[in-house]
């Protein structure tokens, strides 16, 4: 077959994964969430770097970046970063189990996926409550 035909046929062939076809299941969602929180943390670290630079320089520089950690938006950003750290961290723990061949059966992997989701939220809440009480 001519190259042009090969290319044309190849372009028409569907790519996996088919977002609209597969039923969303928890382990799959947590795999995707691991990637989203990883990329999110990249952005979060960039924002925090700006904030810390402002706090290091002071004066106008601090006022210019203080929105990153104060006010409604800032509190939301900080909370999202903390949640992303915990969610992504537990995702890493889940990988560590699977790397050792543990919890790979249907119940086990479902449990780890649920643990990642619930654990990430619980740890964020726990830290938030302790921090509020401590200050």
């Amino acid at each position: 077959m001519a190259d042009a035909d090969t290319d044309r046929l190849a372009a028409r062939r569907p790519l996996s994964p088919h977002l609209t076809i597969f039923k969303p299941i928890l382990t799959m969602m947590m795999s995707i969430a691991h990637r989203i929180t990883g990329a999110g943390l990249y952005v979060g670290m960039a924002l925090l770097t700006l904030f810390l630079l402002g706090a290091a320089i002071g004066g106008g520089a601090f006022s210019a970046v203080s929105w990153i950690a104060s006010g409604f938006i800032g509190n939301l950003i900080v909370l999202m970063i903390v949640w992303a750290i915990f969610h992504h961290l537990l995702g890493g723990v889940r990988h560590a189990f699977w790397d050792r061949g543990l919890y790979m059966d249907p119940q086990g992997r479902e449990l780890l996926a649920q643990g990642t989701l619930v654990g990430g939220i619980l740890l964020t809440l726990l830290f938030y409550i302790c921090k509020t009480l401590a200050s």
């Binding site: 990249y42 770097t49 601090f62 203080s66």
Partner: protein
Amino acid sequence: MTVATRFKSGRTGTGDAYVSDHSGSPHARFMRLTSYALAPLGALSAWWILGLAGKSFDGVRAEIGRPIPALVLLAFGVVGMIHARKGMDDIIEDYVQDQTLKAWAFLANLWASRAIAALWTFAILLIAAPK
């Protein structure tokens, strides 16, 4: 990462087939090894990052100006961005199809991650280093 060869693939046509350069396992192992350091550093850092919320200028500097938070955050930022650079390379590899754009994306990622790690370190040192 994969490398292009002249191998002809039925799937993508001439010259677009890929063979492994065997960097996959070292990459995965690197992510795992860095994550062992990042897990404790991340949990501790989360505590002090949370402490930045709603603080005044002096409050922020008091929160992270002490040696332990400063050192932990510093290590988290540096190890985290080395890990994040490799992780973002995965994401670029998966989603950026155009080869030229892909090469630029890798380069942008390399320098963005280095800039973040360097400025993060610089800022914390300015805040916490003994005068």
